[in-house]
Symmetry: C2
Subunit: 246 residues, 2 copies
C-alpha cells in the first residue's frame, strides 16, 4: 500500500453550525472516504456530505473513537475525525498522537477550528482582546486541586478567564466554587459573560457581574467569561480595552 494513502485529518468543525467551519475543514471532509466522530458532530456534517462512510461512537468512548479513526486510515482510507470547536483545545488531537505509535504508517494532519472561547467572545463583544487563560472545570481527568490552583493564580494575574465545562449533573456547584476562588483577587463587580449553545438554535448570552455569575445556573453547553480589572460594559457588550489612546 502507498503510505500517502494512510491519511487522517483531525478536523475542528467550529462551535455550532456549518458557517463556523473553515474552508480547510470543508476540503478535508470533501476529500475523505470516512468521517468518524461523536454522533452529534457527524450528524452536523452528514447533510452536506451524504456519500461518506460514517462511524460514530458514544460519549466517553474517546479512546475507541481515535483508535477506530487510526485503524480506518491504516487500511488505506482517507479519514476525517470530527470534533466540535477546535480539535486541539480539549479535543481529540492529543489522544490521536498518543495512539499513533500503534499505527505508524498513518499521516496525521490537524485542521484548526474556531474554539468556543473565540466564538463566544464574538457573541459577547470583545472580552478577549487582552491576555487570557482558558480553564476547564471538569475534574474527570484533572485533580480538582490543580484546577483550583490555576483559578487562583489566573485571577491574581488579572487574566481574563474563560471556563469550559462549568457544570454537569455531578458538578452542579463547580462554577460557584470557581467564582469564590476568583473573588479572592477580583472585585464582585468584575464584568462577566456567558454564552450557551454558541452558533446553534437556542443561542443565549448574558453579561453580568462576578457576584451574579456565582449564583447563575449554567450547564455543560455554557462557556463562561470572567473579565479582568479593565473589562467593562459598552452598550451591553463585554469589552476588554487594550489601551489605545482614542
Amino acid at each position: 500500500m502507498n503510505e500517502t494513502q494512510a491519511r487522517l485529518y483531525i478536523v475542528g468543525i467550529g462551535p455550532g453550525g456549518r458557517d463556523g467551519m473553515t474552508l480547510a475543514a470543508v476540503q478535508a471532509l470533501k476529500g475523505s472516504d470516512c468521517i468518524v466522530g461523536y454522533h452529534v458532530y457527524t450528524e452536523l456534517v452528514q447533510g452536506d456530505y451524504p456519500d461518506k462512510e460514517y462511524y460514530t461512537t458514544p460519549m466517553k468512548k474517546e479512546v475507541d473513537r481515535c483508535r477506530q479513526a487510526l485503524a480506518l486510515a491504516d487500511q488505506g482510507k482517507t479519514v476525517s475525525l470530527v470534533c466540535s470547536g477546535d480539535a486541539g483545545v480539549y479535543g481529540m488531537s492529543g489522544l490521536v498522537y498518543q495512539l499513533q505509535e500503534e499505527y505508524p504508517r498513518v499521516h496525521i494532519q490537524v485542521v484548526a477550528g474556531v474554539t468556543a472561547a473565540l466564538a463566544g467572545a464574538a457573541v459577547l463583544g470583545a472580552p478577549l482582546i487582552h491576555d487570557f487563560a482558558l480553564i476547564s472545570l471538569s475534574d474527570l481527568l484533572t485533580p480538582w486541586e490543580k484546577i483550583e490552583k490555576r483559578l487562583l493564580l489566573a485571577a491574581e494575574a488579572d487574566f481574563v478567564i474563560v471556563l469550559y465545562n462549568p457544570s454537569s449533573k455531578k458538578r452542579h456547584d463547580y462554577l460557584q466554587k470557581a467564582c469564590d476562588l476568583i473573588l479572592r483577587h477580583q472585585s464582585p463587580d468584575t464584568v462577566c459573560g456567558l454564552v450557551e449553545q454558541i452558533g446553534r438554535e437556542g443561542e443565549r448570552s448574558k453579561v453580568l457581574t462576578l457576584k451574579q455569575l456565582r449564583d447563575e445556573q449554567v450547564n455543560m453547553f455554557t462557556t463562561v467569561f470572567i473579565g479582568n480589572s479593565q473589562t467593562r460594559v459598552i452598550e451591553g457588550r463585554m469589552v476588554t480595552p487594550r489601551g489605545y489612546e482614542l
Copy 2:
C-alpha cells in the same frame, strides 16, 4: 436611512492563506461593499473579491482604521473590517466597540476566526489539549511589570503558555526575559515549540526545550508555545496529554 443598512462586520480571516477562513467570514466579505484593513490583510482577500471598495491604513494606525470602517458603515455601506487571525484576540473588535458611541447607528457583528495559537498548535501537534494562557510580550500598550507578573503566575499554575509578539527590533531580548521568568517554575527540559509564518509561504516550525528556546532567534511573526509539566514529544510532535487511560 434604514438603520439595518449601517452594518459593520469585524472579520477574522485566520492566520495565513484563505483556507483558514471560515464560511461565515467568506459570506461577510461577499456581502460587503467595502473592505477595510491593514494592507497585508486586504491584499490577501483582494484576489477573491476584486469588485469591492478597498481602504487600507498603515500599521499602528488602528484607531484611524476603526473610525474609517465605522464612518463608512454609518454612510450606509456594508463594511468588513478584516483582521489577521481572530478579530477578538489582540484584534480590532475591542477598539471598534470603544468607538461605537461616535456612530450609534452602526450595527456591529464580530465574525470569529482561527487565532495563531490554534493554527500554530495544529502545526506543532497538540500542545493546547489542556488549560493554557495566552500572553502578548508587546509592552507598547501594557506595562512590562504586568506582563512579567502574568508570566510568573502562569508558569507557577503550570499552564501551557502561548506567547504572541515575542520579539521586535526594539525588544530583541524579551523572549529571553520571559523564558528566565518561566524557568523559575518550570524545568529547563520543558517541551516548547515555535511556529513562524503560519499558513503562509515560508512556514517553519520547531520543537525544542525551554532552555534552547531561551536562546532562539524569533521575530514578530513567530508564535511561541511553552509546554506544561506534562507536555512531551511524540514522534517529533509537541503533545500535552489530557489523562485518558490508554
